[in-house]
Symmetry: C2
Subunit: 145 residues, 2 copies
DNA sequence: AGTGAAATGAATCTGTA
DNA sequence: TACAGATTCATTTCACT
């Protein structure tokens, strides 16, 4: 990971579909070299995925929420298995504090969110925070070059 | 937004760098049509961005956390302006409940996280949850086709 | 909206330093 | 690790359904 790799990453985070040719121009090295560097970062796991951010509302998902769940350590494995297969779960983190899990979800309606929260009760107490607005949406880290 | 558009979106969410040719094959329509559909979804705002997910730890960011901040309505505009320019902020949502803001951040060290939390005190009380693990990392919504 | 075929443009492969 | 040139491959444009 040198300055050029960081520059490539910054650019890919802004636009994952940028061409190798443009990256080559911006980094003052040839396209084959850019290609090799990207492949290398994919293999080493620095680059995990190329992802498309869509507008959930325009896709019919009007409710976004964060749900805190208090899961006992013994139930964690079962919880992970369950949560991974629910497509409405956009992210799940294991965190410090009274509630051990923080999951980000989107749903078409409050009714569906409610029914999902009910399904979580078998794992433990929940606390739900509804999203009103998103002043900063999912974005990357700007690495210093 | 028909079934083909949803299929394109599902595929782009899995891999934003997939070629038009492959999308064309999978959707049984020609590359120019795929291209036109994608352009259309970009213009209408359904597709917001193509984003690269990197491994923060491999980039030197070892601490991930969620910070709840209690911001008075009158201070929101100033808070948004501040938060938007902090590159360590990966997401910021305005939410229901006692704390009005939920921000996701990454830092190189706990010291830097601590100093950031201090800088937030002028906006209101904070409550920080450190991330131990991420069983489900940032992902897209699977649209039914 | 959709297509096929031509033209353009980009990515990969081979050679080489 | 990097490159330049040749080849292969993908994307865009355009005339037409």
């Amino acid at each position: 990971m040198d300055a050029i790799d960081r520059k490539i990453i910054n650019r890919l985070q802004q636009n994952a579909r940028v061409s190798l040719k443009e990256l080559a121009k911006e980094c003052y090295i040839s396209p084959p070299t850019i290609s090799a560097r990207i492949r290398h970062m994919e293999k080493s796991g620095v680059i995990k995925n190329y992802y498309t951010l869509i507008d959930p509302k325009k896709a019919g998902y009007h409710i976004k929420a964060f749900i805190n769940v208090k899961v006992e350590p013994a139930d964690k494995a079962a919880f992970y298995t369950y949560i991974r297969d629910v497509p409405n779960v956009l992210e799940c983190n294991c965190i410090s504090g009274e509630f051990s899990m923080l999951i980000k979800v989107i749903f078409e309606s409050t009714e569906l969110l409610d029914s999902f929260i009910n399904s979580l009760q078998k794992f433990g107490k929940t606390n739900t925070q509804i999203v009103f607005s998103t002043p900063v949406d999912v974005r990357g880290i700007h690495l210093s070059e």
